[in-house]
């Protein structure tokens, strides 16, 4: 175990959330990664919708204001830092994460050891499942590094 923990694994949890549900999934994945002794960063993708659309939906606007305080969007240096990128998508819109992953895959010179892992929002205990998926991803990344 201690040998395993000695290999640092860096995880960026990238998510897109409107009302906070996918944020919960991302946080659970983050906890799972921490449990697996990874270093983590949580990053929220910016909305592709225009501000007027968001303003018409008070619940969205309210959650957005809160999440904008708590998270920044993923940066290039986060990708450079990462061994694993866990991606949590919002069931209301897949465009944000799809666009992000496409751009990531198209980036020349990207670390080819980087694992990009979509989080599956499973039925049942979705948070426990997200934690477990993150733990597995960290273990896989650690194997690749040693």
């Amino acid at each position: 175990m201690s040998d395993n923990k000695a290999t640092p694994v860096n995880v960026v949890v990238v998510f897109y959330s409107r009302y906070g549900e996918t944020e919960q999934l991302a946080l659970a994945a983050g906890v799972g990664a921490v449990q697996a002794h990874a270093n983590i960063r949580l990053r929220r993708l910016k909305d592709l919708a225009d501000p007027e659309t968001i303003a018409r939906d008070p619940r969205w606007a309210e959650n957005l204001e809160r999440m904008n305080r708590d998270y920044i969007a993923p940066r290039e240096i986060d990708v450079d830092w990462a061994d694993v990128i866990l991606v949590a998508s919002c069931s209301d819109s897949l465009r944000e994460t799809e666009k992000y992953v496409e751009a990531l895959l198209a980036t020349p010179g990207r670390n080819d050891r980087l694992l990009i892992v979509p989080l599956i929002d499973s039925p049942g205990d979705r948070l426990a499942s997200a934690r477990e998926q993150a733990r597995k991803a960290v273990e896989n990344a650690r194997k690749l590094k040693t």
């Binding site: 946080l27 983050g30 921490v34 449990q35 305080r69 708590d70």
Partner: protein
């Protein structure tokens, strides 16, 4: 033996929204000579601008204590806790197997000034937990008021931590004096949080710290004009 750690020699990071002084190595400040003292690993002196704060981030296997000097701090974590912390209140979080939390200045107008303390736990992989309590500031005047320690039951409410270490807070008015014996082979750290004190005859101002080993007692006096507020750590 008393070794002073002067305020102006600490690590310093000014991010605009956050002005932080690091008694020990932390984040981008790394000095192998200052990696902590005994189980005390981090002592950060933080000022956070109104409405700003630390976004969600993770911790593992660490006892994290927040001690607010001025203003308020809003805390949220993955154990489901959501609390606001003010002066004369204490927050302690056992990160254990892993937590994610965020901390923001709870006020849109006033800055918050607080100390963040990390103590390495003796036991790894404990269930994450969160504790918070308030106390009467009179309880730390002229004496050492226990803030955190390894005892399951204490005379006054105190946070439980998974380490053979005790943290006390105290306020001494100018001219007030207290003496605390040190059990043989144990160590102490004193951090002057505000104002001025003397420790065994040596002057400590705001932000100064002192490592104490092979001494039989701490003799602390409040110095004018306003005396001082300080923390004492009893360490194995």
């Amino acid at each position: 033996m008393i070794t002073l750690r002067l305020a102006e020699e600490r690590g310093h990071a000014d991010h605009g929204w956050l002005n932080s002084y690091h008694t020990f190595s932390f984040a981008n400040y790394h000095d192998p000579k200052h990696m902590g003292f005994r189980a005390l690993r981090v002592l950060n002196d933080d000022r956070v601008a109104p409405g700003r704060g630390f976004g969600s981030h993770g911790h593992r296997d660490m006892e994290i204590i927040s001690y607010v000097l001025e203003g308020s701090l809003a805390h949220k974590d993955s154990t489901g806790t959501q609390e606001v912390l003010e002066a004369n209140m204490v927050q302690a979080m056992s990160a254990g197997t892993g937590v994610i939390h965020s901390e923001f200045n709870g006020s849109a107008k006033q800055p918050v000034h607080f100390l963040q303390i990390w103590i390495e736990p003796a036991e790894m992989d404990v269930e994450p937990s969160y504790q918070q309590f308030a106390y009467d500031p009179a309880e730390k005047k002229g004496r050492l008021r226990l803030i955190a320690g390894p005892d399951k039951t204490t005379a006054e409410p105190a946070a439980f931590i998974h380490q053979d270490a005790r943290m006390y807070a105290s306020v001494l008015a100018a001219g007030d004096f207290l003496e605390q014996p040190i059990v043989k082979s144990r160590h102490a750290w004193v951090h002057c949080a505000q104002g001025n004190i003397t420790l065994n005859g040596r002057a400590l101002k705001e932000g100064d710290g002192a490592a104490i080993s092979d001494e039989s007692a701490l003799q602390i006096t409040g110095v004018g004009p306003a005396g001082g507020e300080f923390l004492v750590f009893d360490l194995a």
